[in-house]
Symmetry: C2
Subunit: 476 residues, 2 copies
């Protein structure tokens, strides 16, 4: 059985990104020395991994990590929400779901956060400590809104390097993207107003609408192409829309990236009607392709795009550093920031600025992107293996969540409760809508280390879903 | 001149709280050894300090630090605002004032913050570092609203020890008291509603009203007794009042403490009309008397008191840890907290909890209270010495700010600008009203180390004020 142990070890190393896709694994001779096993054992282990599709041989070159076959998931159909504005009240459900994943024992498939063990927390904490020591009498006044100047400069630099037009004076530092989104919405709309959102939409958008006592109208959204711009145009013609909120890149929960053409069309349509658009771009750094995708800012000629992002998904969640680039609403957002929380704590601001200045961020990002891309494929393959017939999944182009459509008979809230009893959390689909839609959908997080517990949890979920699908069909 | 140097050194030690009021200073013999000067020099130095009123001799006992004579300031008259609700727009003025004190060279008489060098920052940072190390993968989910359980327990313990009725389940941790006040107001009133406030009122209260698009109505307020409850009753009879916001203890800027009888009357009056009251108690630990004063919570039978406080004035400003005890509005406040900023960063929450658990907070507080009380008296005496005739000051019973009424002809915004050119900041009175009132008032911070720069700044301010008072009188 020795070769199976070795195979498991190599497989784990591949999954953790030690050996990246397309890279060569140690030669048979090297591996024999390294792991202290015979040549024969290595050969059997590599053959096993080859048969599982994880490695491939190249003549004269050795064994390489195979690209996981890009799953061709049958994507869920585009949503067709009725064009009706509704009040929003999803926060209690979301809060109770988040609380349920507080247990460190549960398999955190329901978590909205990336695996924190992937963050370079040691480096960041060291920087924060050095800063706290340096500034014995550091006080609040130093980094009043808009925020620490060096941090703002570093953020602007990254945008510039990625081809996003940016004016550092436009950036306002916030307590995470949550606050950036809240302030942006408050700057452009008032209680009672109607806001157009994707369907499904990331619940933080719904929270912002709920917080201000506004109404949401859901726009049909294609799981691979994003918000349906024709449908949006029709809604604008029929309703008074105060603002639009979208996530054009790696949308949570669908994972799509809007094409440049569609981004431009969206910005132009809204500009025609003078409607501001809040762009949530928190996954900007977690792309699986070759480069960061464009943003709505790239197409904004009128200052109507309020762009929001943060470091919480890509660098450190606990520091709660986000920002807004609110276009022509910059003064209002800065003022609201001051009114809302006075200031964003200084030391975390400076620590992140120092980290960005030192370099190493891109290296860190390349590492996590590789892991997320590989685990996306594993997650899709495993769901396809264990879930009942009729299950369909998204094909995320970045980020770390998968959207799963279960057979129509499965109630995701019941599945959520049954899974929780077995120590597994999931994100029920109803969190992503103001209209109690997506009842047979769930969101799964694949950022955490992939191991036998993950596979067992997905098997259990699949069995639960199958039994619920069957039971309901039987009941009919 | 040696004895003058020694006198200056002893005086500085007294001012920094090394020798507290009522304590014995080193005996003549001890001082002679300690400072390496002759007995005669010590005697001359002590005689000088006695003549200045800083020391007193007691027969057979030695030299003692004299209680600074409690200044008997002529307090400003009670305010008489017209009973008219008005929209609020003071945040730009406040933000620009705060920015102006960002320069570390300026004499920070305009700062709203306590001297950060008095905080036990070294201890707190050590604790934070230890926590960050312990929890390599600390994440946001651990301390979701209402907040870290141990921190909540520690806060509840201090209330219980101080005779304030408290249920730990009522406490919600926030990003500073600013957020606690914002969420509390949002929980009880809606845009367009009218909120009763003190006059002058702490501008954070006005910010909360401005943020929500509500209206403020200012209630006559006595500089030593607080809000005029009869006047408030009349306003309630004539206006629809959605909420009341007060600072019963060490009000900023007036410094009064409402009597228990008045606190009870206020709570009962509001209960009669079912009006919630937001109590800002951020200076609770900075009393000059023997014990922490009571709160409105002590008299609340109906859950209508939303009590807000923080550690920013007494322990650490940069960690931004505050809390609300929102009575019957607890569920709404918790939900709004979640919607507003998701969560308060974990490490600062746990660091503060650890600090409170270890003990040492009371020792630290006794030290800063002694300094603030002494410096309050110095500030009053120095203002009386340098400012033009007709100047009157508050008599703060805690906290670290003094409210100064200048001759009516002085425009505090002009004084603010003229002072700023000379490297001195002050808080112009107009920040404390929604009606552009208090134009000839200023607020002065006396928490910073008292030194010759402070005295020189006050002398300059006095001269500027005198010239403005004279010029205007001349212009008439």
């Amino acid at each position: 059985m020795l070769y199976e142990n070795l195979a498991a070890e190599v497989e784990e190393a591949v999954r953790r990104g030690v050996f990246a896709v397309g890279e060569r694994v140690p030669s048979v001779r090297q591996a024999s020395t390294q792991y202290g096993v015979s040549i024969k054992t290595v050969l059997r282990a590599y053959a096993l991994l080859e048969s599982r599709g994880l490695l491939e041989t190249r003549p004269q070159s050795g064994y390489f990590v195979r690209e996981m076959p890009a799953a061709k998931p049958e994507p869920p159909a585009a949503s067709q929400p009725p064009p009706v504005a509704s009040t929003v009240d999803v926060s209690r459900l979301v809060l109770s779901t988040l609380r349920s994943i507080r247990s460190h024992d549960a398999t955190p498939l329901g978590s909205p956060y990336p695996d924190p063990s992937l963050f370079p927390w040691r480096k960041i904490n060291q920087l924060a400590n050095a800063i706290a020591r340096r500034h014995s009498s550091w006080n609040l006044i130093d980094d009043l809104p808009p925020g620490n100047p060096e941090l703002i400069r570093q953020i602007a630099r990254r945008y510039a390097e990625n081809g996003v037009p940016v004016d550092p004076d436009e950036i306002v530092i916030t307590v995470g993207a949550t606050e950036a989104i809240n302030l942006s919405l408050q700057a452009v709309a008032k209680p009672g107003d109607t806001v157009a959102v994707e369907s499904p939409t990331y619940y933080a958008m719904l929270h912002a609408i709920e917080r201000m006592g506004m109404r949401a109208i859901e726009v049909p959204t294609h799981p691979a192409e994003g918000i349906n711009i024709d449908a949006l145009a029709k809604i604008i013609g029929e309703h008074e829309i105060a603002a639009c909120m979208v996530m054009p890149n790696f949308q949570n929960p669908l994972g799509f990236v809007m094409s440049d053409a569609n981004k431009q069309r969206l910005v132009e349509l809204l500009a025609e009607h003078d409607i501001p658009v809040i762009e949530n771009d928190v996954y900007q750094e977690l792309y699986y392709g070759d480069a960061r995708p464009s943003t709505l800012k790239n197409f904004d000629k009128n200052g109507l795009v309020l762009h929001c992002a943060s470091f919480s998904k890509s660098l450190t969640a606990s520091y709660r550093i986000g920002w807004a680039m609110p276009g022509r609403y910059r003064r209002q957002v800065e003022k609201l920031k001051f009114l809302n929380t006075l200031t964003t704590p200084s030391v975390p601001q400076v620590a992140v600025a120092d980290y960005l200045k030192q370099g190493g961020y891109d290296h860190h990002l390349r590492h996590v992107r590789r892991i997320y891309r590989q685990q996306a494929r594993l997650m899709i393959a495993t769901v396809q293996r264990f879930f009942p017939a009729g299950t369909q999944t998204s094909g995320p182009m970045g980020g770390y969540v998968l959207w799963v459509e279960l057979p129509g008979a499965v109630d995701s809230m019941k599945l959520y409760k049954a899974a929780l009893e077995r120590g597994i959390t999931i994100g029920p689909g109803t969190m992503f809508s103001s209209r109690d839609a997506f009842r047979h959908f769930i969101r799964l997080n694949y950022s955490y280390p992939w191991n036998t517990q993950t596979e067992a949890a997905l098997k259990t979920l699949g069995e639960l879903a199958a039994s619920m699908a069957g039971r309901r069909q039987h009941e009919r």
